[in-house]
């Protein structure tokens, strides 16, 4: 059973005072080991992206035809691809692409969705009906189809891929935040704010948005994993990030399938990287949801 918030469980014993954020994270790790494992994976990925220049054994873009399709060895831990590029280095640099696309699209998608959802709930009536119908229309497309449509209109490339992933996230977030915001609209402090004659914008941004933080954070973490998967799928189809940018989905495309029998490492490791990172984000997101949403808290 999770301990009540505020009842600090001192992990290190009495007398040692730790900084607040560390105490919170240690408590989180103690109560939710799966979530902590997820956070570790995410942290590892973040470090790999940050320190890619230092830890990567080679240049991710340097091709060397003398070293084509080499199996994993001491110099090339995860082998080389059909251009003789080091796979480990490409995976390490690829984490930059995955995190960049994942974070920006999950952040912008959820934020835009939250603003729309809250505004829709706040204004109610016709505005609400109109926005909801529009969101229904967007929701009736599978995620990947909508993203594909956007990419085919805007063209490929990292920025367009981010936009293509952001757009399908918006209605999904708007739906959830609207539901929470409907309850908030009826609270006395919103009525009070209205009575004080505050502007709509101020009420929405200052009074209502901060109170949908819990579902918002849950959605951001949930979308992060989905965005990374979606980017990998688009890149795999050749409609995402363009060569020679190192990206995991791109590494699985073409030669990886063609030479799958001769060089299975080309197909195995990038996929493992995708799975591990999404796994980490989901694990962390799940525990965060349990911790933040008291309704879902299981006792």
């Amino acid at each position: 059973m999770p301990k009540p918030v505020g009842a600090a469980t001192d992990v290190r014993g009495a007398g040692v005072s730790l900084p607040g954020w560390l105490q919170i994270s240690l408590r989180f790790a103690q109560q939710r080991p799966l979530g902590a494992a997820g956070a570790l994976i995410v942290l590892g990925m973040g470090l790999a992206a940050l320190l890619a220049d230092i830890i990567a054994p080679g240049d991710p873009q340097a091709s060397n035809y003398a070293l084509m399709l080499r199996p994993p060895s001491a110099e090339h831990w995860l082998g080389t691809d059909s251009f003789g590029r080091d796979i480990l280095s490409r995976i390490i640099y690829g984490s930059r692409t995955a995190l960049l696309v994942g974070f920006t699209s999950a952040f912008f998608g959820s934020t835009l969705g939250a603003i729309i959802g809250v505004a829709s709930a706040y204004f109610g009536g016709r505005v609400d009906l109109l926005i909801q119908r529009l969101m229904d229309i967007l929701l009736s497309f599978p995620l990947i189809i909508l993203a594909l449509a956007v990419v085919s209109i805007l063209g490929t490339g990292t920025m367009n891929v981010i936009l293509a992933i952001t757009i399908p996230m918006v209605p999904r977030c708007a739906l959830v935040t609207r539901a929470s915001a409907l309850a908030i609209r009826e609270t006395p402090y919103v009525t009070a704010a209205r009575a004080m004659g505050f502007s709509h914008t101020r009420i929405i941004f200052r009074h209502m948005l901060p109170n949908v933080m819990a579902p918002y954070l849950i959605l951001v973490t949930a979308f992060l994993g989905q965005a990374i998967l979606l980017e990998a799928s688009l890149s795999f189809l050749g409609l995402g990030v363009a060569e020679p940018t190192p990206a995991w989905g791109l590494m699985l495309r073409g030669a990886a399938v063609e030479f799958a029998e001769r060089a299975p490492w080309m197909a195995i490791f990038p996929g493992l990287a995708i799975s591990a990172s999404v796994f980490g984000f989901n694990l962390f997101g799940d525990s965060l949801r349990d911790a933040l949403d008291p309704k879902l808290r299981t006792g």
């Binding site: 209109i153 994993g225 189809l237 799975s275």
Partner: protein
Amino acid sequence: MQRYILRRFFLMVPTLFGVAVLVFFLLRVAPGDIVELKYAGTGAFVSKEAMDQERAQLGLDKPLWRQFADWMWGIARFDFGASMWTGRPITYEIAIRLQLSLQLAIMATIVAVLLSIPLGTIAALRQDTWVDYVVRVFSIAGLAMPSFWLGILMILSMLIFFRWLPPMFFTPIWVDPWANLSQLVWPALAVGYRYSAVATRMTRSAVLEVLREDYIRTARAKGLWEKLILSRHALKNAMLPVVTVIGLEFAFLIGGLVVTEQVFNLNGIGMLFVEAITRRDYTMTQALVLLVSFTFIVVNFVMDLVYAWLDPRIRYQ
């Protein structure tokens, strides 16, 4: 109940119309059209007149509102026109692929249901034990692994360990069930695993929630047999959200399997979608978008009916 059904039914129409308007104009806002793309492929110099002639043939020279009206009038008569790229009727192009996509969607759903309901229930019953952890990790892993990668791994291991590959061409199940299944079972497993992950998590949380209800306590207090409590009281009530998730995912399987179809070399609706979008085949893309949203909306509608049928509180609202 009849009034509820009628009202819900008529609410479908504006949504579909909205989808139609949106896709129609978005497609035409995009730079480049099918005529340009066709000639760009040949590399030859083509005069502007020839291109305009081709556009006129496809009806692309008419004003936008006229094109839209023609399209709508066609739909009202169930005439979706011909594909701008192949020239064949759209209904024919879709029909030959729908067989495969529909069968794959059904098979993946079976895999998902068989995995998710027992796993989700047992995880809920053994909450916070190692069983629960194993099931949760298994289902989160299912969400994390791209199904196209799972597909690549499947093909790879069949190739390495059995020196065998699934058949490359689709045979309808009534022609040769064996050939049909030996091709489709693999993508169904790859997709079904991912799909089951969503449903397992939903089952787990729904069962957990129901188990805390007062009527379960009452049933236990009166000494009812635990198995009966589970099947009659808990599972029956927990199934509502699970059925919803399964239904919605099913709707997405019809058009959303783009990448998996690519890996297994399946000529399904998803591949047709990608081809149509990249070729700026307006008529085909429009028809496919309508098909996919129609499936989604109908599934939603049926879900609502099931809900209303099961839960009188919704019906009389």
